[in-house]
Symmetry: C2
Subunit: 266 residues, 2 copies
């Protein structure tokens, strides 16, 4: 795995695979958890894509993501033993690589079943989890069977993680966090607070002024509750993704509070 | 809005816009809710894409989605009065259409502010919510300010909804459900149940047999809890998306239970 330093923008994408997401059976808390982790480590998550368990859909989705050249692409789900677990086949196809039995992955899978059975049989359903795109590296799964997978593509580092949340988190923490940290990005500075008594269309010009005064910061307003109620409420989120503007966050809060107060009382 | 009948596959995509999703501040429950609704009305949701508040990102995302020719594309978020609400600008750019003030949308926005203020001023922040891609139709927002937007592209019907969940749901129920229903798709037949005492790699060959016996059905296993525990647990979900195989669902349940039982006891 490479490591780069300096002010480069650290971009990432997530592809989350599973029909259960697209029929509304399962809420994609995996992507949400990962989004938070990436943000906390100073990475910019550009896009999350949820795809069905379809070889065609996964391979196009991965090919498109790689074409946008993020530094990191994380896929979630579809690494298990069953017929509809086809993420690795999709990744292999998108990279024009064959699938082949990976020695280290096979060792990890075998070791796992040895903890369950006295004489484990390596059926084709089990060796499937050790069949990776050629050139891939297996990442140990401390709490489950299917190993994670790492592929170092020219510009993009691809990590494939299982969809079971505990397994996804364990592999992420063991194998991906050290990689993300090696880029030495700074944690974003941020603050959020609620403003009562002003509606969003009246706050908008104040935010425009604040944007001009602090161009390094990002301002986002989220209306909470009904605008037509007696007390309109807005959640305001101010953050910086660059270390040089982190100090501006508290100044911007002051700036906005002053202008909002005069509008509400005046 | 067109309406088609017959056995055509009813495909949909969702594009959910907002930095708050990609920094892990907000869980995208909107897409999840919509996914369930689409499924219950017999529609196939092919892809969900979460994008940042960036004109470039939204316009490419929309252009790519339209290129895949879903019958319906629903965008979520970015319709409000502030600077970072840029979904309509992104949609307009992707369709090579100019943005222009829409009379019906302006009437809806004005009407809304008249319920809040005696003499509402139509500031540029407010008229922004009535500035739509040329040729669009405004959809009334029964519980908020920003109207929904409908655009009838050659193959794809595009609906743009606000990101505030109550507003998104209200416009969906009022303006989109009747459209989805006009295609007369049948609700999918489905069942899910838990199987204890068998691990996923042992269930996999049984599911393969079931797939061959009932090719019209979809089988998906989700491991629950730890495989290494004393009682492995799998949630099995069986469903049909075609009316002609709906009757097979209960037969397939019988089929699997029989085979699993003999494996556990045998």
């Amino acid at each position: 795995m490479r490591s780069r330093k300096g002010p480069k923008t650290l971009t990432a994408e997530i592809i989350s695979v599973g029909n259960e997401l697209l029929i509304g059976h399962t809420l994609d808390t995996n992507s949400h958890w990962l989004a938070k982790q990436l943000n906390q480590h100073g990475w910019i998550l550009e896009r999350v894509t949820q795809l069905r368990d379809s070889l065609q859909s996964i391979s196009s989705g991965v090919r498109e993501a790689i074409g946008r050249k993020p530094l990191v692409l994380i896929t979630l789900g579809g690494l298990g033993p069953t017929h509809d677990d086809m993420t690795l086949a999709g990744v292999a196809r998108s990279l024009h690589k064959p699938l082949s039995l990976n020695d280290e992955a096979l060792r990890l899978v075998e070791e796992h079943y040895r903890s369950l059975e006295t004489r484990p049989r390596l059926t084709r359903y089990r060796t499937k989890m050790a069949t990776l795109p050629k050139g891939a590296k297996a990442l140990p799964n401390p709490v489950g069977t299917a190993p994670g997978v790492f592929l170092d593509e020219s510009r993009t580092s691809i990590f494939c993680l299982p969809g079971v949340p505990s397994e996804m988190k364990a592999i992420f923490q063991t194998s991906i966090i050290p990689f993300l940290k090696s880029f030495n990005a700074s944690r974003p500075a941020e603050v959020q607070f609620k403003i009562a008594g002003i509606i969003e269309s009246a706050l908008a010009p104040i935010l425009d002024e604040a944007r001009r005064a602090y161009p390094g910061l990002y301002f986002k307003s989220h209306p909470r509750g009904k605008e037509t109620g007696p007390r309109p409420l807005i959640l305001l989120h101010i953050y910086s993704t660059r270390p040089e503007s982190a100090g501006d966050v508290s100044k911007a809060v002051e700036y906005i509070i002053q202008r909002v107060s005069s509008k509400i009382t005046g």
